[in-house]
């Protein structure tokens, strides 16, 4: 089921529910291979309306937690206690029953509907101490129930690790619709659910890039027959055409403040890196030369830009300090290195590189040292984009015309599929936290 981007109306009510949770950390997120935290997610209480959400909520939260390789979601067949409305009115959970099946933590929830809106109360309990670690109440449209589940999964992760979760982030990408030869822009949730189509003009729509507030996308469209950069407000669907300079254009990345877009513009056949003001009309060349310069990615401090140049004879990754003339090559191995993506912490740059006849994804420090292989697969792994917590990369796996989106950990320990439902999927871009 594909639908168009709709206004995001989710509002959050932070209830001052009593909590005795301290700063105690249960899981060290940087010590992989440790014991998994066993968590129970019994069916939510649904007073009236869509009863499928009784299971839908805990499944969505459990899917998120399971993705981290930090939690062990206990099978619901093992549960001994059923959650009832009274558990939200003062009746304590039977914690010995939860401990007996091995649970260290229990998440319970209650859903109430009012027309198209609903209110969800969710609580995380420490089964050993019997206290509530987190309590939240969310209100919003029923169709955004997953968003609420993701937000609470973020809370659970934070309670156990002190690390802010990314479960409510999304991935924008381009793909060919079932009909036609063009490509449209789509957005999908990190859990592979809630695919929605953003553009619908049956031309080529390519290279989506998120604004820092996640409210908009910049992308290239051939909708008038030639490539232009458009800025789209995802809530309203309103679009803006950016200043028309040169021929081919593709957005690279927004400045951290969101005031500028770094983009590739081709003037008289020569592609260079430009900075375009989004509040005014200024367009300034940032990096260039006689060769091809494309794909700018701005550092999180806004002071440097990574980009591709073929000035050495083959495409390689370079870093330039924006306000100086200092430029250096940072990709070492491989004879075809493209698609830089700067990590949110600023400590590494991911890119695609050809070696041994296959494209793989590497990361390197911005000074060009410590290049490491992050992802390689049974086909070409291209177009990396960092997650907002810097722990994962989304990328395209391509092989003989087949393509799918995958997510891998930056340390290369695991990969999983994200989306393969349409032809020619590619150019994934990970949203900021929302």
């Amino acid at each position: 089921m594909i639908r168009f981007a709709k206004p995001l109306l989710l509002s959050l009510l932070f209830l001052c529910l009593p909590s005795v949770s301290g700063a105690l950390l249960y899981i060290d997120i940087n010590a992989p291979g440790g014991k998994l935290m066993p968590v129970a997610l019994p069916d939510f209480v649904v007073a009236s309306g869509d009863a499928s959400l009784a299971r839908g909520f805990p499944e969505a939260i459990g899917g998120d937690l399971g993705m981290t390789s930090l939690f062990d979601v206990l099978p619901r067949q093992a549960h001994l206690e059923r959650i009832v409305p009274e558990h939200f009115g003062g009746r304590p959970l039977s914690f010995p029953d939860w401990k007996m099946i091995g649970a260290e933590a229990v998440v319970i929830g209650k859903v109430e509907f009012r027309g198209d809106l609903m209110t969800v109360e969710m609580r995380l309990y420490d089964a050993t101490l019997g206290n509530m670690m987190v309590g939240k109440k969310y209100a919003g449209p029923v169709r955004q129930f997953r968003k609420m589940a993701h937000k609470f999964a973020n809370e659970v992760l934070y309670a156990f690790t002190g690390v802010r979760g990314i479960f409510d982030t999304e991935i924008a990408f381009s793909a060919r619709p079932e009909k036609g030869r063009g490509k449209e822009i789509y957005i999908i949730g990190l859990d592979g659910q809630e695919l929605r189509q953003v553009t619908d003009n049956r031309s080529f729509n390519l290279f989506p890039r998120w604004s820092p507030d996640a409210a908009g996308l910049a992308y290239t469209s051939y909708r008038t027959g030639v490539p232009q950069i458009y800025l789209r407000n995802l809530a309203t669907g309103k679009e803006r055409l950016l200043p028309q300079v040169g021929n081919s254009k593709s957005p690279g990345s927004f400045s951290p403040s969101g005031d500028f877009l770094y983009a590739t513009l081709s003037v008289k056949g020569n592609s260079d890196i430009y900075r375009m003001s989004l509040t005014g009309s200024a367009v300034q060349k940032v990096a260039g030369g006689w060769g091809i310069e494309v794909s700018p990615s701005v550092s999180p401090d806004g002071k440097s830009v990574a980009f591709v140049s073929n000035r050495s004879g083959s495409p390689q990754i370079y870093v330039k300090e924006i306000d100086s003339s200092d430029e250096r090559r940072v990709s070492q191995a491989g004879n075809y290195s493209t698609s830089p993506s700067w990590s949110p912490a600023g400590d590494r740059i991911a890119f695609t590189s050809l070696s041994g006849g296959r494209y793989s994804i590497y990361t390197v420090r911005p000074d060009g040292s410590d290049q490491r292989l992050a992802v390689s697969g049974s086909g070409d792994c291209v177009d990396p984009s960092f997650s907002p917590d810097g722990r994962y990369l989304v990328y395209t796996l391509r092989k003989n015309g087949y393509s799918e989106l995958k997510i891998g950990s930056v340390d290369g320990r695991w990969q999983r599929g994200l989306f393969k439902g349409l032809p020619a999927v590619g150019s994934p871009s990970w949203s900021p936290r929302q």
């Binding site: 009909k179 036609g180 030869r181 063009g182 490509k183 003009n201 049956r202 031309s203 080529f204 390519l206 290279f207 290239t220 469209s221 051939y222 909708r223 008038t224 027959g225 030639v226 490539p227 021929n247 081919s248 593709s250 590739t264 081709s266 008289k268 056949g269 020569n270 592609s271 091809i292 310069e293 494309v294 794909s295 591709v308 073929n310 083959s314 495409p315 075809y336 493209t338 698609s339 695609t352 050809l354 291209v382 177009d383 391509r398 003989n400 015309g401 590619g426 150019s427």
Partner: protein
């Protein structure tokens, strides 16, 4: 072959719309194509236009311009027929190869003999590498083709360029034979 026919039909539909707009002719003579999908035919004016009562207003013209743009966007995804052969390039290169020169001379002779004619040069790449880099590479192929034609005496004003990167492969295969065909410049009479 079928693709070329469809492309031709869209072009015909497009030129009719353009002509209609340019001539500022009466509403009832205006035609539009509902879409560029295979099998699309020119449709009769919509009810909204009929209600306009044959009056031309700036508002209606604006709508027609938008339609034309939308059509151009869809048409951009289709292979356009050409009376000239494509010329081909080496992997990750944009220099004009020896084997491209006879075709370029043909194109140059045509343009010199027809001073009113103009040509759009499309630059294309094979599927290897990354899409964003390939847009720039296709641009460079189209520009180096344009420069060569200018060096043969063609007026620069008769030539325009657009890159489609790896988005429009002529051969859908995934081997060197297909890639070689897809690294090309394509000539479209405007």
């Amino acid at each position: 072959m079928k693709n070329m026919l469809v492309g031709k039909r869209v072009l015909v539909a497009l030129s009719v719309v353009l002509l209609a707009v340019a001539a500022g002719c009466g509403k009832k003579e205006m035609v539009k194509s509902t879409d560029g999908a295979p099998g699309a035919e020119m449709s009769t004016p919509s009810s909204a236009e009929t209600q306009a009562g044959g009056q031309i207003t700036s508002e209606t013209l604006g709508t027609q311009t938008a339609m034309t743009e939308a059509q151009a966007g869809v048409a951009a995804t289709m292979e356009k027929p050409s009376e000239f052969q494509d010329i081909h390039f080496d992997f990750d290169q944009s220099f004009i190869r020896e084997d491209a020169r006879p075709t370029l001379r043909t194109v140059a002779d045509y343009l010199k003999a027809n001073p009113a004619a103009s040509i759009l040069i499309e630059g294309h790449c094979d599927e290897r590498g990354t899409a964003e880099y390939n847009i720039a590479l296709g641009e460079r192929r189209a520009e180096s083709t344009k420069s060569y034609l200018v060096s043969l005496g063609v007026k620069a004003g008769a030539l325009s360029t657009v890159s489609f990167g790896e988005e429009k492969p002529l051969d859908p295969g995934h081997d060197e034979a297909a890639w070689a065909k897809n690294r090309r410049a394509h000539f479209v009479r405007k």
